[in-house]
């Protein structure tokens, strides 16, 4: 009864094409943004920032990136954490070797480098699909893992193989507390989400979806598969490259090559399967779920008086992830995002039955 479009007529195509055509959605989104930027910093504890909110934001960005490639363009990749790694190491080397480089510039450049590498490893997608493409992306994952572990130039010849980063300074604003990091990440992720939404509703997004749904027909319409697939790889890798740089610099502070290994790639994939493939909102759901579940399993049983050992909690997490993956793949391939959309549909009628 409250969530209805009744009376909201669109009189121009511009109105119909708006990002949030329904007025109630606009209000909710505004409230959410205000709460996120202004309310959360006062309400959340440092622990919450460090263990859930900050990693959630970065992972949401990475999940959006992977979703663009897998969910929107239909090209599978189970080695995407490798491109996060590229972004992180690129940003590290830029900051190390270029004097007085602003982190924001390094971030964008790192993303571009990751985009180039992503495009390179995306070339096999022009000839092979599906299951076979996964091998190409696995090759990317393991090869890049090895490269950053062994080629000493990348780690600045550190003997331990791990790199560490200084506190970030953005034009005088020092990111030296979890709250400040949170605000920075929130700003970056909000902007990138908006850009992604725009790309997806533009003609490149439709080209991606056409290739995903029926690539033969897409070609007949004049969509060039090379352009669509390589741009998907490039944009997707740009996003995860930026996410990787943020993960290394803002969240971890220091990392070793194994930080971006196959387990993180699988986590990203699970995020978009559970959250919803082909949905930006779904990327957020999936990221929150994968980041929060281990923490919840670790803390909540103790509160309700049935404590689990840390090892048991992590086994339980694996089992729950596994079950949910299978569940979502069989029952609802569009993940939590579809369940959310169904919920909203029901809300349009509530409290009336029909």
């Amino acid at each position: 009864m409250f969530y209805r479009e009744n009376g909201q007529f669109k009189q121009t195509y511009r109105q119909d094409e708006a990002l949030l055509p329904i007025a109630q959605d606009r209000i909710v989104m505004l409230a959410l943004l205000v709460f996120a930027f202004v309310g959360v910093p006062f309400l959340a504890s440092n622990y919450l920032f460090l263990s859930i909110l900050n990693p959630f934001l970065i992972m949401a960005l990475a999940a959006i990136g992977l979703n663009l490639l897998v969910g929107y363009c239909g090209q599978i990749s189970i080695g995407h954490a490798a491109f996060m790694s590229v972004g992180a190491y690129a940003a590290y080397n830029l900051m190390l070797r270029v004097p007085n480089l602003s982190f924001l510039v390094a971030l964008v450049l790192a993303g571009l480098i990751a985009a180039l590498v992503g495009m390179l490893f995306g070339i096999p997608s022009l000839r092979i699909k599906g299951l076979y493409l996964t091998v190409a992306t696995l090759a990317a994952q393991f090869f890049i893992d090895w490269m950053f572990a062994r080629v000493k130039w990348f780690t600045g010849y550190q003997s331990s193989g791990s790199v560490s980063t200084p506190v970030l300074d953005l034009f005088g604003w020092q990111l030296d507390s979890p709250v400040k990091k949170y605000l920075f990440l929130l700003a970056v992720v909000t902007v990138f989400t908006l850009l992604a939404r725009n790309l997806v509703r533009g003609h490149v997004g439709r080209a991606w979806m056409a290739i995903r749904d029926m690539d033969v027909a897409a070609e007949v319409i004049g969509i060039r598969p090379v352009y669509a697939k390589l741009t998907a790889f490039a944009v997707s890798s740009f996003y995860v490259g930026v996410a990787g740089a943020l993960w290394g610099f803002v969240y971890l502070g220091s990392w070793e090559p194994l930080a971006f290994n196959i387990n993180m790639s699988l986590d990203l994939l699970f995020m978009i399967i559970i959250g919803g493939m082909g949905s930006i909102l779904g990327s957020y759901f999936g990221a929150l779920f994968i980041v929060a579940l281990p923490i919840v399993l670790d803390r909540v049983p103790a509160w309700v008086g049935a404590p689990l050992s840390t090892a048991m909690a992590s086994h339980l997490a694996s089992m729950i992830f596994g079950t949910l993956i299978v569940f979502f793949l069989i029952v609802e391939p569009h993940g939590l995002a579809r369940l959310w959309a169904i919920g909203k549909e029901k809300l349009r009628l509530w409290p009336f039955p029909h």
Partner: protein, 333 residues
């Protein structure tokens, strides 16, 4: 001739890549043979896992990437049960558990997804692998467990007369190889010579045609999964005896993929040969190519075998996607 050109290029590239090892091999042939044998042994283990995979795919058209995780689960179960009962009893129970597990996985996970693309099945079985990882460790514990096959782990020097100083090999590696060969021979005989084997091949070829001549599909599938279960337990025990049983998804679950890509998804000899090529290739690359690369590029250590299999599979895909022995896939609009 044109059709064979990609193969010729691939073989030429492989030979070029083998130049370094062969050069070293010429000067130290004993060492070369040692590495070769070590690679073959590792390859045998890969082959056994891929074998189970191919069997299931051949008979039911189902990609069971959880094969690797199931092998590990089987090994873990056998290892733990063997602590309280004789090994052969544990092994039998292990086969039983495997068959049960296989049937459950097939019914709950694979059958609902039967018409989906391979990627969806891959992801679903990765989910199953994750589940088995957590479940296995909850039930059996997370330490590294041993399977004692009663073979001495002491390496043995052989062929002292042929090569200077002899060649060092491990007894359990030899046992694994012998078992694998016996298994393959048994399977080959089973498929070629028995009525059930013929029925299995009929089912692999065309489900409907097989049904129309009265072959009971469900029973066939149970047989296939049981055979695959036996292979899995054997593989698990061999692997466990050699390396200790510990979950590592990237090692087992994912490595089957390059093996079947090399060998072809539907070929039993392909699974064997693919596994051997990958095993040998990895070892050779690590031992011979590795130091060369370290010197040339000033690297901090080796580790080539982590990516070698996948890069090799990728090259194969670009040149000969159906693998060495698989069927040609023709795409028509």
């Amino acid at each position: 001739m044109k059709r064979h050109l990609p193969i010729i290029i691939l073989i030429a590239a492989l030979l070029a890549g083998l130049a370094a090892p062969l050069a070293t091999g010429a000067s130290a042939p004993g060492f070369f043979v040692e590495v070769l044998l070590g690679g073959l042994m590792a390859g045998v283990l890969y082959s056994l896992v891929a074998l189970g995979f191919v069997l299931i795919f051949k008979a039911s058209g189902v990609f069971n990437f959880a094969q690797g995780a199931m092998v590990l689960f089987a090994a873990l179960s056998v290892a733990r049960m063997a602590e309280v009962m004789p090994l052969w009893v544990a092994a039998l129970l292990g086969v039983g558990i495997m068959v049960l597990l296989a049937i459950v996985v097939e019914r709950v996970v694979l059958r609902p997804l039967v018409n989906q693309e391979g990627v969806v099945l891959l992801m679903a079985t990765l989910g199953v692998s994750y589940f088995l990882d957590g479940f296995g460790q909850s039930v059996w514990g997370s330490d590294i467990y041993e399977i004692n096959l009663g073979l001495s782990k002491a390496p043995v020097l052989i062929l002292r007369n042929v090569f200077q100083g002899g060649i060092l090999i491990n007894k359990d590696d030899v046992a694994a190889a012998v078992v694998a060969v016996l298994l393959v021979v048994a399977l080959a005989l089973f498929f070629q010579k028995t009525a059930t084997g013929r029925a299995l091949r009929a089912v692999a070829d065309d489900h409907q045609a097989a049904q129309s001549v009265g072959i009971p599909l469900n029973r066939i599938w149970v047989i296939v999964w049981s055979v695959a279960g036996v292979v899995a337990v054997v593989a698990g025990m061999m692997w466990g005896s050699k390396l200790g049983v510990q979950f590592s998804i990237s090692q087992v679950a994912l490595k089957a993929l390059p093996v079947v890509i090399l060998g072809g998804f539907t070929s039993i000899p392909g699974a064997i040969i693919g596994g051997l090529i990958i095993g040998v290739g990895e070892k050779m690359a690590e031992v011979f190519l590795g130091p060369v690369m370290v010197r040339t590029f000033d690297l901090a250590g080796g580790g080539i075998e982590n990516w070698f299999a996948y890069v090799l599979a990728l090259l194969f895909l670009l040149v000969r996607p159906e693998g060495l022995f698989g069927e040609r896939i023709i795409d028509r609009v």
